[in-house]
């Protein structure tokens, strides 16, 4: 058991405001990063960058319930829709990520270190690509052969880049939420 840190009652509002600012700010930063390709600092592999919003959803839902995970997945999926195109929607893949992460954490077999986070992100990036491929294949705008070709070309790069850059999002956010929950006296 972790003892709750002492804090004054009037600082509760400030603390929650800070939390809101950090959540909104980090989501906005991830959304902007997903628009960039910076091969010079290793942020793009054959023209494909990390899936920042996926990393954010994983970080968010690793210590939360599936419902919260799904909700975050839907919200960030809608944001990604706004940044690219909403047909087919990105919400399905990311909501599934939130659901899976929410389920996983109850079984307690995840070690919360960089390696397991990177591995989880690696696997889930493949899943998100597969879901997108399924949607594009069903949508009728793309031929199945082209979709399959595209998945083969991009899924691995996306998974490698996402898992490589996952700690950049995971480490500071996780530190903050640990602190936040301790200050609130939860857990």
């Amino acid at each position: 058991m972790i003892k709750p840190l002492p804090f004054r009652k009037q600082s509760l509002l400030t603390l929650n405001l800070w939390n809101a600012v950090i959540i909104v700010g980090s989501v906005m930063l991830c959304a902007l990063m997903s628009l960039l390709r910076l091969p010079r600092i290793g942020m793009a592999l054959s023209g494909i960058g990390p899936n920042w919003l996926l990393v954010w959803v994983v970080t968010w839902s690793i210590k939360r319930t599936s419902v919260q995970g799904i909700l975050a997945g839907i919200c960030l999926g809608l944001i990604q829709d706004g940044l690219t195109a909403s047909q087919p929607t990105h919400t399905v893949g990311l909501a599934l990520v939130g659901l899976l992460m929410g389920r996983l954490n109850k079984k307690r077999f995840i070690q919360e270190d960089f390696i397991s986070i990177a591995l989880i992100v690696f696997g889930l990036a493949f899943m998100v690509e597969a879901v997108a491929a399924f949607q594009f294949g069903l949508g009728g705008t793309h031929q199945l052969r082209d979709v399959w070709l595209h998945v083969r070309q991009t899924a691995l790069s996306s998974a490698i880049m996402s898992s490589f850059w996952a700690p950049v999002v995971y480490f500071p956010l996780n530190r903050w939420w640990e602190r936040y929950h301790r200050l609130l006296g939860i857990e």
Binding site: L71, C75, Q80, G82, H90, H142
Partner: protein
């Protein structure tokens, strides 16, 4: 009722927050991310360094290509008795820097640093030194989003420059694309130029797209050719956007006529 009231008391805050988050994200999605792009445009400053030099280079190349195009089109018109000459005279373009790339791996898009305020409209044709790049799909006051020709949803009517064989061009999310010909036995060879056809409604005719790299004429259905795009889209930093002549006065306009 008491049960419902207790439930409400307990989950009130979470429910309100959840609805707020969902509503906000939905509104963002509906607005095509315009607000965030405008913020990004504002945060990333007025323009990148050595812009003057790059602009000069782009302008010079655009001018050169437009001259060549105007010449070719003029000759073509005489032969085909088309009355598109006014359009060529009035054709104007602005040089625009690229703000960002696509937000995922599936769509081939660009965001540009200029929008409605500079006279860019939905459907405007985007070119770069080398040929066609794409088409504007959404605009905000200071940014605009371009769907590239390398996107698989981009389908363009094209012709082989030498033999006038018609076909349909389709992007492949890479430097290469596929042209499917209508004729069973098209006169086409490796190295032939592919340009937009006069039947294309979205693009003006005669814009170069790429060169034929390999031929797959033994296809069962229709003969195909693999085309290498003439514009190195992944390395682009500047593009030119065509403007309609009814838009506002343009200090930086690059006219096709000297």
């Amino acid at each position: 009722m008491l049960f419902l009231y207790r439930w409400w008391e307990r989950y009130r805050l979470g429910l309100v927050l959840a609805i707020l988050c969902l509503g906000g994200a939905w509104a963002f999605s509906r607005s095509q991310g315009v607000g965030l792009l405008e913020v990004f445009r504002f945060v990333s400053g007025p323009a990148q360094p050595d812009t003057a030099k790059q602009k000069q280079l782009v302008d010079a190349q655009t001018w050169q290509i437009q001259q060549q195009m105007a010449d070719l089109e003029a000759r073509n018109q005489a032969l085909q008795k088309l009355l598109a000459q006014d359009e060529i005279k009035n054709k104007k373009a602005i040089a625009v820097a690229i703000l960002s790339r696509s937000g995922d791996n599936w769509w081939q898009q660009l965001t540009l640093r200029k929008g409605q305020k500079d006279g860019i409209e939905v459907g405007a044709v985007v070119v770069a030194p080398g040929g066609l790049v794409g088409r504007v799909t959404t605009v905000s006051p200071n940014t605009s989003r371009v769907l590239l020709i390398s996107d698989p949803t981009s389908r363009i009517g094209v012709i082989v420059s030498n033999s006038r064989n018609m076909g349909i061009f389709q992007g492949q999310s890479s430097k290469e694309a596929v042209v499917t010909f209508f004729d069973k036995d098209p006169e086409v060879k490796v190295g032939d130029a592919i340009v937009t056809s006069s039947l294309s409604r979205l693009f003006p005719p005669g814009l170069p797209i790429g060169k034929v790299k390999t031929l797959k004429l033994e296809q069962n259905y229709n003969p195909q050719a693999l085309v290498e795009l003439s514009v190195p889209i992944s390395k682009l930093e500047w593009v030119s956007v065509y403007l309609n002549d009814q838009t506002s006065s343009l200090p930086k306009a690059v006219s096709s006529n000297p």
